[in-house]
Symmetry: C2
Subunit: 338 residues, 2 copies
């Protein structure tokens, strides 16, 4: 059996996460039992939700256990199988974690999904045609429910989730306005993803200033907002929100370090009769087939061309993850493992 390298959560962050929270170890992969499959990971997905799980205490998911392999989505290839449902060479997706190999019970439902990589590159199953894409789809389609001609704003617009939100909104005849950090990301959001406009939040020190920029980009106000960030952007969007507008709360990177990120103007929820709704895509498995079908078609036909930032090798995972939390990635953050 091959030697496996793994990244463990060694200790929990106090405030900001640092590289010293992680530990790289080497272990032998155990011999397979009946029904098990050995998967060699090609890509590991790094996602903001992982930061939340590094904390102790109440959140939507169980905390990541200390001393164990960091959890995370992976795509890869079956390299050994004692399960008739999986053959060596099958491309598969699972929650393999921050490691080079995983041993998976192929009989347990939902643990391993076979992938068709004819038209869709395997890494996209961790992005636009995977959890981030379905996250975009659920928040937009089921919570924001955009109507033709309405204006939809999404933060972290160049990211894996944000890029899909905008393209899906455009498909429904809505205007898509992005918020992103820096001119390069904004240019990508408008020129390559086809958003109607993108605002560089780094040009604005406070919510009022950002709200003014949003007003110019959204002359008819904002009907829906897909929230990936929290804080300043949320406040600014609420100042331009229309009556009966909807906010899908998907991520609040701004708050992962435990610092307070108050919502400045909650009374606008009342005066504008808004609906603000949090969700976690893994609790809505019923939409995955429909969502993946639309997302797969958009990627295969080139209508959704998501960017990827790819770190090389497992050693690079912790720094890549910390960079993701600071917005240093451009598009979907992956780690190439093979």
């Amino acid at each position: 059996m091959p030697t496996n390298r793994q990244v463990l959560l060694d200790n929990r962050p106090k405030g900001e996460a640092t590289a010293s929270n992680f530990k790289l170890v080497t272990s032998e992969t155990p011999a397979l039992q009946d029904g098990q499959v050995l998967v060699r990971h090609h890509y590991l997905s790094l996602d903001p939700y992982m930061r939340g799980r590094m904390n102790e205490g109440k959140s939507y998911a169980q905390p990541q256990p200390l001393g164990q392999v960091m959890q995370g989505g992976t795509v890869g290839e079956v390299v050994e199988s004692r399960n008739p449902k999986f053959a060596v060479g099958d491309k598969v997706q699972g929650m393999g974690g921050w490691q080079e190999y995983s041993v998976v019970d192929g009989n347990q439902a939902g643990m391993l999904r076979k992938l068709d990589t004819t038209h869709v590159p395997i890494s996209q199953y961790l992005g636009a045609v995977g959890m981030p894409g379905v996250t975009a789809w659920y928040g937009l389609v089921k919570i924001i429910e955009p109507k033709e001609g309405q204006t939809i704003v999404v933060s972290a617009a160049s990211g894996a989730v944000g890029s899909a939100v905008g393209v899906l909104a455009k498909q429904r005849g809505a205007r898509a306005i992005g918020v992103a950090g820096g001119p390069d990301k904004c240019k990508y959001v408008t020129d390559e993803l086809g958003f109607d406009a993108c605002i560089d939040y780094r040009q604005h020190k406070d919510a009022r200033s950002l709200a003014q920029a949003l007003k110019e980009a959204c002359p008819n106000g904002i009907d829906g907002y897909f929230e990936n960030v929290g804080g300043l952007v949320l406040d600014a969007v609420m100042l331009q929100a229309n009556a009966f507008s909807r906010i899908a709360m998907c991520g609040m990177i701004a708050g992962y370090n435990g610092e307070p990120i108050p919502m400045a103007y909650p009374q606008l929820i009342l005066t504008n009769r808004m609906r603000v709704e949090g969700f976690i895509v893994s609790e809505h498995m019923e939409v995955w087939p429909e969502a993946l079908k639309e997302l797969g078609t958009l990627v295969a036909t080139g209508k959704l061309r998501p960017r990827e930032t790819v770190a090389q090798g497992l050693d690079a995972a912790p720094e890549a993850f910390l960079g993701l939390l600071k917005g240093r990635n451009f598009g979907k953050q992956l780690v190439k493992l093979a």
Copy 2:
């Protein structure tokens, strides 16, 4: 025609509203035109929403115009009629405003509604069997959607809206927990309205302390919250909110003076997958018949026994209104005009 006394909005509040914002004037009621009705008001309703309309600027309703009679709900009696649909002596409800008489076009739909006062005292049509009652009904039934055994919290629980929320929640097999100001109001909420518990927010200086009291009163967490206040209570409730809990945003007295009232922990909307929704009952006229039927039955059978605080005479209206904004009333605030 009788002499009419009226309260006008003389100038807009700068910060807190004061008596000097209002002006009492006397005028002659004009002679009736064909189709018009002269109504003598028995009661004027004072409601928190009026404070919002005293401000200029964007809100859910047009601002109250300066120099004109303050708008408000009234019940009274037809004393003169040039409309075959209304006879002298009919009891009616309308938006007569802060004045002793109003002249109403009886042909315009929705302007004047005839009341049956056989089983329900006329003043209740401004409270439990009127706009405040339907507000409670809509927010509870349509937004919070309580299930049997769930825990529902309501702020301003002794008030016209809050009292109905609790009684309606109990009717649906839910636990009802009130938040109110002072021991007398809390005693009324539990002993006379039948809530399971009531917390005196004045005993708590911060959200953490109030959250601890809520935790003791709600050992299974909070599934629904009916928000009448904003600020501290909202923060405390959110700290005890369950997964998939719902907040109906109905009023935010705390913010009417324009001071900031941030929501301290918006990230809980995400981690608890909450739904937070603002509403205005006048935009949901379709529920009024069903709601009024249930509320009328609850009042007529003594299951909902709302308190009233009655100020005497139009002169007393401004001070009574300012007291309402400070929570000095006990139950529905009315002004007796005849």
